[in-house]
């Protein structure tokens, strides 16, 4: 059975060019980048090359990039590292209720150690309100961490505006954004965004798993969270994942390829067709999060009387891979914190389906979903005894 993959926000396959770029560094050019001999220098040069690619993409200096083992690690470094360096007796942090667990749990851990944390609410559209942020800023606010685009509902935050408000209200407060889901589609120029720190990931952009990066603006006070041989300017010790870093660099190069813009237009067309058709042909269904301020690849729809995991399992049986909220939390029983923050009831939040498109999707995939999904929903509604009144 041909498989239709609609879970690109969970992870992406590696682009063939990424695999090709990486393969040499797994076997032939295996050297440790810290070694002085030719093997090591080759690896070191390759990391330098990838760093330059990322710097060009982000509009920053190479020295402002730190490679990490994942985006989660980069988020942890940004949050714990900044708070540690701030040396404030009672630091205050601001984040949003719809952040990725990598940010939310880091903030919660700091709260457990005595930090104050404000979790900004979002509107029904899934967007943070600037006025609320302004009110929350205090003289001891060390860091604000707001994601660029949400992983579950794809809503895009007004990052440049957020940065402006922060810097105007309290210039010393640092601003971090997790841009993991945004990189494929949105401008990530850190100067335009006004971010002091920015996280990105390899495996969400057709690169490998096990590699992420953190942009840290020059002069930003930050301390490491991992100690050792002093790699990555002492901010992330541990022998570099050379092949992974090279793969991440190649993935960013592919995003800069003009072809990627055309792919994104097609992805948006698929998204619009899915949203429009599903809402029209399946009664008691609704889109979660803003349509206007939304990633081009995200569809998140709730269906009354059909439970999310059951929808996913039934679709999987028909060769369609989708997800409920996020793959990370599918092991938990709690409804999505993002959907609850958007104001959905627990029951409706349990009945949500996320489909995230990518560059390998075809018009046939879209047709298949339109054909299969109504049947699945109808069947599950029959099982739940749901009747439209």
């Amino acid at each position: 059975m041909p498989k239709t993959y609609l879970d690109y926000a969970a992870t992406t396959p590696c682009d063939p060019k990424v695999v090709k770029a990486m393969s040499g560094f797994l076997k032939k050019d295996f050297g440790n980048p810290s070694s002085i001999h030719n093997f090591g220098q080759k690896a070191s040069m390759a990391i330098g090359g990838a760093r330059e690619v990322l710097a060009e993409f982000l509009g920053c200096e190479s020295e402002e990039i730190v490679f990490t083992g994942s985006a989660t690690e980069a988020d942890n470094l940004a949050i714990f590292g900044v708070v540690k360096a701030a040396k404030v007796a009672q630091p205050h942090l601001i984040t949003s209720q719809i952040e990725h667990p990598a940010v939310l749990e880091s903030c919660r851990a700091l709260a457990g150690q005595g930090a104050q944390v404000t979790y900004l609410s979002v509107g029904k559209d899934g967007v943070v309100e600037i006025a609320e942020l302004k009110k929350a800023l205090k003289s001891n606010t060390v860091l604000v961490s707001i994601m660029y685009a949400n992983n579950e509902v794809g809503t895009v935050q007004p990052i440049a505006e957020i940065a402006e408000v922060i810097k105007k209200t309290n210039p010393k407060t640092l601003f971090h954004t997790d841009a993991v889901q945004a990189v494929n589609f949105l401008d990530c120029d850190v100067k335009k965004l006004g971010a002091d720190l920015l996280t990105l990931s390899g495996h969400k952009i057709y690169g490998p798993k096990g590699v992420g990066a953190l942009y840290i603006k020059k002069g930003t006070p930050i301390e490491p969270i991992i100690y050792g041989g002093g790699h990555e300017r002492g901010l992330r010790s541990g022998t570099e994942n050379v092949a992974g870093i090279v793969g991440l660099g190649q993935a960013i190069k592919e995003i800069q390829n003009p072809k990627s813009k055309i792919q994104n237009i097609r992805i948006r067309q698929f998204r619009d067709k899915l949203i429009k058709t599903i809402l029209k042909i399946i009664p008691a269904s609704r889109l979660n999060g803003s349509l206007a301020q939304r990633l081009p690849n995200n569809v998140n729809i709730s269906f009354d009387g059909a439970e999310g995991e059951a929808i996913v399992v039934a679709l999987d049986q028909k060769g369609i891979a989708a997800s409920t909220g996020s793959a990370c939390s599918s092991g938990s029983l709690e409804p999505s914190h993002v959907l609850l923050a958007l104001g959905l009831s627990e029951e409706v939040a349990h009945g949500s389906l996320r489909m995230t498109l990518g560059k390998y999707n075809t018009a046939k995939d879209v047709e298949k979903v339109i054909k299969v999904l109504p049947v699945v929903i109808q069947k599950l509604r029959k099982i739940s005894g749901y009747s439209q009144s």
């Binding site: 059951a310 399992v313 349990h350």
Partner: protein
């Protein structure tokens, strides 16, 4: 262990005991507040030689694939049993038939048991009157 075994998928896709019993003798309705699942069990009870035997059982469930296949299985298991026997059917009996389920889904079996007990209690209350 696979998150969804083949047996569970089969039951989920082709439940045998789905639906309502119009003139049910007992109905059990329950809400699992933690995972949001809703289960409803309908029973038809017959008196045979002084014993009350479950003649038919059906279900409606708003829940994941595990919850649905477990609802279907417990309906199968209680048929032909006395009320006391049916009340004893729990997690062990269900996984004996369905095969192992992930630990995070164990509450689905408890939920089915609760719904079944509620249906039996409903019948007992009604028959007292």
């Amino acid at each position: 262990m696979e998150y969804y075994s083949k047996k569970i998928i089969d039951r989920f896709l082709h439940p045998k005991n789905l639906g309502k019993i119009k003139d049910a003798d007992g109905i059990g309705d329950t809400t699992n507040l933690r995972c949001g699942d809703l289960m409803k069990i309908y029973l038809k009870i017959e008196k045979k030689g002084g014993k009350e035997i479950i003649k038919d059982a059906k279900f409606e469930t708003f829940g994941c694939g595990h919850a649905i296949s477990i609802s279907d299985m417990i309906c199968d298991l209680v048929k032909g049993k006395t009320l006391d026997e049916a009340l004893k059917i729990g997690y062990e009996a269900i996984i004996d038939e369905l095969g192992p389920i992930p630990p995070v889904k164990m509450h689905c079996a408890k939920l089915a048991q609760t719904a079944m007990k509620a249906a039996i209690d409903d019948y007992k209350n009604k028959s007292k009157k």
